[in-house]
């Protein structure tokens, strides 16, 4: 059993706090992804779990044992670095077996485990090469091999795919996911790429400025963001945000006056408004309906169209100065400068209050 528990974990450099109190429970065998913009502290948090950064305050438990003040070598975790950190003077075989050799494992054991790791990662033909003779993807595989050969209960990945080209990244992503399935170990993975986060994670932790914004499954974060930050961070292309004014309506509904003049009536789903107040309306580009009058309607001038084949992205300038991204069918066509009409379905709308907290999440299943 190797669950990882953080409670009130902080990291301060003098006056500056980088991690401002993180509480998190990663279950045994879970694939947990830390995402966030650069500088949010996600790598620092991972390094604190690895023991490479001191924990200023709070408690870290791995597999139930308190390891807050224990050095990296005694935490029983394995880490894969962004730069791979392969030992340049050793062959692949020596690289993979190094940790075991240094910690006094018997020779046959090292050989057996190296061979097993190599076969899992298709590294057998490369075992006698030096890292400088390998391609980026192969180096990455060696780095992963070095981690799995130790048979740790917790794997830590620090942006392992960001030095690879796009095609290789997709392939390695699948390999890591398969590896997680085969090993059943707990994995914590840091990335700034939300596609990696969405495709691999059991649980995503969205970090911003040293704080956890939301923890949840990928779809939960996508459909039910807790605040404006998560709503804007998860999903690509980004969710559209429109400044609007909301007012309570009878029968538990909320009326939102769109900047263009129209009004949408939303199901409040328990949220209560006492008076008229400024809100932010959020709606994802893929939920907008081009050329249809839905619950509400917006009109704008087409500024840019991206024809991606499978879909078309339209970027509109709204009359009041806002912008709107609309994802349409791959066959949709429109001339730059033309005026487009966009339907806003009420059930896909999210509503955020003036402090960025969610008032209402859209519910597409309804």
């Amino acid at each position: 059993m190797a669950e990882v528990n953080l409670s009130g974990v902080r990291k301060d450099f003098g006056q500056v706090s980088v991690i401002k109190g993180v509480d998190l429970a990663v279950k045994d065998g879970e694939f947990c992804v830390f995402v966030g913009p650069s500088g949010c502290g996600k790598s620092t948090l991972l390094r604190m779990i690895a023991g490479l950064e001191d924990i200023s305050a709070g408690e870290l438990r791995i597999g139930g044992a308190d390891v807050t003040r224990i050095g990296p070598s005694d935490r029983g975790v394995a880490m894969v670095f962004q730069s791979y950190a392969l030992y340049p003077h050793m062959t692949v075989r020596e690289n993979i077996g190094f940790g075991l050799r240094m910690t006094g494992h018997p020779k046959e054991d090292i050989q057996r485990r190296t061979a097993k790791a190599a076969s899992m990662l298709q590294l057998q033909p490369l075992l006698d090469r030096k890292p400088s003779q390998l391609s980026g993807g192969q180096r990455q595989r060696v780095a992963i091999g070095r981690a799995i050969v130790r048979e740790p209960e917790v794997f830590l990945f620090d942006e392992p795919l960001s030095n690879l080209d796009a095609a290789l990244r997709v392939q390695m992503r699948a390999e890591i996911a398969t590896l997680h399935h085969d090993l059943g170990a707990t994995m914590i993975y840091v990335t700034h790429d939300q596609v990696e986060a969405m495709t691999m994670a059991d649980k995503i932790v969205v970090l911003n400025a040293g704080k956890v914004e939301q923890v949840g499954s990928p779809l939960e974060l996508y459909h039910r963001p807790k605040n404006l930050f998560v709503a804007g961070f998860i999903g690509s292309p980004k969710m559209n945000f429109l400044k609007a004014v909301a007012a309570p309506l009878p029968e538990g509904r909320i009326g939102v006056h769109l900047p263009g003049g129209g009004t949408i009536a939303l199901d409040a789903r328990g949220a209560r408004l006492l008076q008229e107040e400024p809100v932010t309306l959020g709606i994802r580009p893929e939920h907008l309906e081009l050329g249809q009058a839905g619950g509400g309607q917006l009109t704008g001038t087409l500024k840019l169209a991206e024809y991606l084949g499978s879909e078309t992205m339209f970027f509109l300038a709204l009359e009041n100065g806002g912008e709107l991204a609309v994802k349409a069918d791959g066959l949709a066509k429109a001339a730059i400068g033309s005026t487009l009409c966009v339907g806003v379905p009420a059930r896909a709308c999210h509503l955020f209050d003036s402090e960025g907290r969610t008032l209402v999440n859209g519910d597409l299943s309804a």
Binding site: L52, S73, D74, F81, S83, A85, G99, M102
Partner: protein
């Protein structure tokens, strides 16, 4: 690229360059050429006042064999090795350790300690002449190779630490972190990861320190008197007669004494240059 390559300069400048460069080279090498020519000059030339002219005959064989027959130069060269090799080993080994500590560990006075090492290099060593002589005398190390070795190790370690610290600082730190996460002890990280990667730095520094220490004249004369411990640089003096200066023999002896560091330089040239830039550009 700066400076602009000569090949791209105007024809006039190119001509001037190819004419002046050999000239400058000769002027620069004149002292060395002078010593080399003197070393094959018959003794009579010097007595006749022919110091810088064409030698009247070739006396290389006599002079060089005289150097080995008339003076204990073999003993002196042996002494030089006895001083230089332990110094190189001692200074490089110590600085590998200090450099590792200063480059890898974050502790309170890290930078202060590092500056202390560096600051030592700025002290003109002549200032230390009297205290160091007293110190070695009291420690019973005066007039021994050990005394000389200890002093050289102490004095060279500062520069070596600067060099090694900067070299290790330029190594990717993730290598060390990665080994730590793998459960490797700090000593084994040093021994199995950092040390192998420091090979070029060790080679470069060894050549450098070998040359420094081999060519040292000052401390050899200050700390040693008897020929049992005298290095070759100071020992050459004994080639002079009691009343007359035998410049032809001293020159021949100098050439012989200069050979080991030159040989070392050429043998390790590749490492030396790579190592020097590797250690110097970062950190």
């Amino acid at each position: 690229m700066f400076p602009a390559p000569v090949a791209k300069a105007s024809p006039g400048a190119r001509f001037a360059y190819s004419a002046l460069l050999p000239l400058a080279l000769i002027v620069w090498l004149l002292p060395l050429i002078g010593v080399a020519v003197t070393s094959v000059r018959p003794a009579g030339d010097l007595a006749a006042g022919n110091y810088f002219g064409i030698p009247s005959g070739f006396a290389g064989v006599e002079n060089y064999s005289a150097v080995f027959q008339n003076s204990p130069i073999g003993q002196y060269i042996l002494n030089s090795f006895k001083v230089t090799i332990p110094t190189v080993i001692g200074a490089v080994a110590l600085s590998c350790l200090t450099g590792f500590a200063l480059a890898v560990y974050r502790f309170k006075l890290n930078l202060t300690v590092f500056f202390l090492f560096v600051a030592g290099n700025f002290i003109p060593f002549q200032i230390l002449m009297v205290p160091v002589r007293d110190l070695t005398l009291r420690a019973g190390l005066y007039d021994t190779t050990l005394g000389l070795v200890l002093f050289h190790v102490a004095f060279q370690t500062g520069f070596c630490t600067l060099f090694m610290r900067n070299f290790i600082k330029a190594l990717p730190f993730a290598l060390i972190e990665s080994a730590r996460v793998e459960g490797v002890s700090e000593w084994k990280i040093f021994r199995h990861i950092v040390l192998p990667l420091m090979r070029p730095a060790i080679a470069a520094l060894s050549v450098l320190i070998f040359t420094f220490v081999w060519n040292d004249y000052f401390w050899a004369t200050v700390l040693v008197q008897g020929s049992h411990a005298m290095p070759v640089t100071a020992g050459l003096y004994s080639l002079n007669g009691q009343w007359i200066a035998a410049w032809h023999l001293v020159s021949a002896g100098s050439i012989v004494a200069a050979l080991p560091p030159v040989a070392m330089f050429f043998l390790m040239q590749k490492h030396f240059i790579a190592g020097l830039t590797l250690g110097a550009t970062k950190g």
